[in-house]
Symmetry: C2
Subunit: 427 residues, 2 copies
């Protein structure tokens, strides 16, 4: 059976576009992974009437579960629990044991901050956070805000609702206990288990993949039982397929067909990202980067990962030509002759990093990120790359990348990751 | 008069949490800036029934304008225009002139890609994109998808709707023409002009600002006419105030009060970000970074800005100790004696960058980003910084930053930007 959910994200700063919501996407992904269909996500500010309207809307859309995020703080504008409780016709009651627990958490924080004694506003805030709707189950807080799970109410045509706090770390830490709470577990028990698999391609166009899917539709038995979405992001094409266990053979046929037609353009069929693949292949290596137009973004991305100090030695951002010469030993005459954005300079940058940082693999970038600096011969978006590997000839590439400065820099960073993955594969 | 709007973001990949929506926040910000109140943002997949339900919901909430994004492509799953047109009871009609224009745009792209001749699916896709609801106004495409503005329909209790494409660059380029279209202009003409001003603080707590706002509420005449939201992000506290022109004196009083109480912790009252301030103050300088735990993030952030090549010379990411010694001349004995995460090492890193890259200001970071590597004396989150300036003693700081690896790295990057701003101010 299909179980449908809706997500309500609260927060004036999210509604106003000043803060990027991380909870809606995270909750949606978790629900989809476990076979729950996400029908709607709604965002509202701190106005109780708007929140009530959104919950009522999702109920009218016959979702089986509503998850709300945010609005559980100690201050007066945090209104999710009383607003939802009123809609469900449930009185709030103080949970004294919960109040003590929140108080203990707050005391621990305050002792670290060496603040003054309890104030009345502070105690009132804690009491507010410890109010639980009658018949609801509270979810243990990891910050100061407990969550609440309220069972469905058929007489009011209201589905089960799970109320979680706004800070992503708190929400994510509370998720397992939330799923186990009776009101949520009861809904989840009704669902058909779904699998979800992801295929990722690089330099593979949406049109080409669409053509392959048309072939699949003709040739693969059970293709219609696969729910496929595709998405192009930073030059990577992601194809996510959801299916019931019974459709597994059809999915395996599809995976084979995509691999057969697109070959090496498919770089992942097991969910791994290009960052996972590069990190895995870098095991036992020493890497450095030499960056101009990417300005340190490749180094930042490599070191984003815990444990990257095992293989990242360092990087040189040689933004000015004098830095290319001074730190990477690129002769000024080569820059004069070919220009900074050229394959010879990119090659010497990578080789300079290889030597100076004593690594066995180095990647370099030199390009015109824009908006200025473009010429007829080298328009904005022209980026030269090189990969230098100990004991091998240095390989260079030139790409013409679309979009604005941010786009060119981001696409260059992703391109460098793919070049690294390729170079590390064929050693 | 208050004009209210709702935004509908379409896209299965957004609903599924795989792609971060950039359109909802962008549209919300633009609307708020011009004094339109954004009441709801909703996200739906590619199912017409869900889209119809969301538009109907926003209409029931009495918004004056609905903006939809996405679902205007040439393929069958792009259904926004026919779905909304059906709800508004308007037939679709082919706009032959528009069809020709889209055809010309597609031909230009295809000639660059050196593809084959027109195919029937291609022509069908173009024809689909050139279908305009009767009585609606089309908005010129900047990609291949034109937008559509449909006037309000009182007999159906439906507000004006503006339909725009999903690619953010296309949507943003079409925005000015969309605002001028008769159905949208008619709604905007009814609004009260609102001002919006932003005050930004650093190392200023939400609790302290809340206390200041309570004082303001008591002391400032007209305080209730100010609509204030506060938001803490990466250690920066942002206070955004919306108000009608008549409440300008109250806002000026508030700005003075906040400045009087919080002094230098308020770094911006004119909308400028710390990146704007640093870029402005770097004019005429030469800067380099020497980064360990931030792994190139400060350099990437500085070079994110067009024109940064005027002052960014380069950076050294000295992730391994040997890179600190080899590229930044930090003596191995100092690292042995104090540890890599120490103020003496941070100072020598910044000074090494100053000398090696021949700049007049350099910032360095060395810290424990986690999850591993923490000790009793230097737990995860301990980050040492230094600012070296030609002719001045090098200044060091140690911060203890909360959160996971990504949080420590991001907070460190922002902290470095503020240290740069301070150092550049007092020259």
């Amino acid at each position: 059976m299909t179980v449908r959910a809706g997500v309500v994200v609260t927060g004036t700063e999210v509604l106003a576009g000043r803060v990027t919501d991380r909870n809606g996407p995270w909750v949606a992904q978790r629900l989809l992974e476990m076979g729950v269909d996400v029908a709607h996500i709604t965002v509202c500010g701190d106005r109780p009437d708007d929140l009530t309207a959104q919950v009522r809307f999702l109920a009218d859309q016959r979702v089986d579960l509503i998850v709300t995020t945010g609005g559980l703080g100690p201050t007066a504008d945090d209104l999710t629990v009383p607003t939802v409780a009123a809609l469900y016709g449930r009185e709030l009651a103080l949970d004294a044991e919960l109040e003590d627990r929140i108080h203990a958490i707050v005391q621990r924080w305050r002792s670290r901050m060496s603040s003054a004694a309890d104030s009345e506003p502070l105690r009132a805030g804690i009491r507010k956070q410890a109010m639980v709707p009658q018949g609801a189950q509270s979810i243990s807080p990891t910050g100061t805000a407990p969550g609440v799970a309220i069972p469905s109410d058929e007489s009011r045509s209201l589905p089960a609702v799970l109320i979680l706090p706004g800070p992503p770390r708190e929400l994510q830490a509370m998720w397992p206990e939330a799923l186990d709470s009776a009101p949520v577990a009861e809904v989840l028990a009704r669902r058909t288990q779904m699998r979800q698999d992801t295929i990722r391609g690089y330099r593979l166009s949406e049109a080409d993949l669409a053509e392959t899917l048309r072939t699949a539709e003709r040739e693969i038995t059970g293709f219609d039982d696969l729910e496929i979405t595709t998405c192009l992001s930073l030059g990577e094409l992601e194809m996510v397929t959801r299916y019931a266990e019974s459709a597994r053979p059809a999915y395996m046929d599809l995976e084979r067909l995509v691999g057969k037609i697109h070959g090496a353009r498919v770089f992942s069929t097991d969910g791994s990202t290009i960052d996972d693949i590069v990190a895995h292949r870098l095991s036992g290596h020493r890497i450095a980067t030499a960056e101009s137009c990417t300005g340190g973004m490749i180094a930042a991305r490599l070191t984003d990962r815990a444990g990257s100090s095992a293989y990242v030695i360092g990087a040189v951002v040689s933004y000015a030509n004098e830095a290319k010469t001074g730190l990477l030993d690129v002769p000024a005459e080569v820059i004069d002759q070919h220009g900074a954005v050229s394959e010879p300079v990119a090659a010497l940058m990578a080789e300079g990093a290889l030597n100076r940082l004593n690594v066995d693999i180095a990647v370099s970038t030199s390009g015109v990120a824009g908006p200025g600096g473009g010429t007829e011969a080298k328009p904005v978006g022209t980026v030269c790359f090189a990969i230098a590997v100990t004991g091998r000839p240095t390989v260079t590439h030139t790409l013409h990348l679309p979009g604005d400065r941010a786009s060119v820099r981001a696409l260059s960073t992703t391109a460098a990751m793919h070049m690294l993955a390729d170079a590390l594969e064929t050693r």
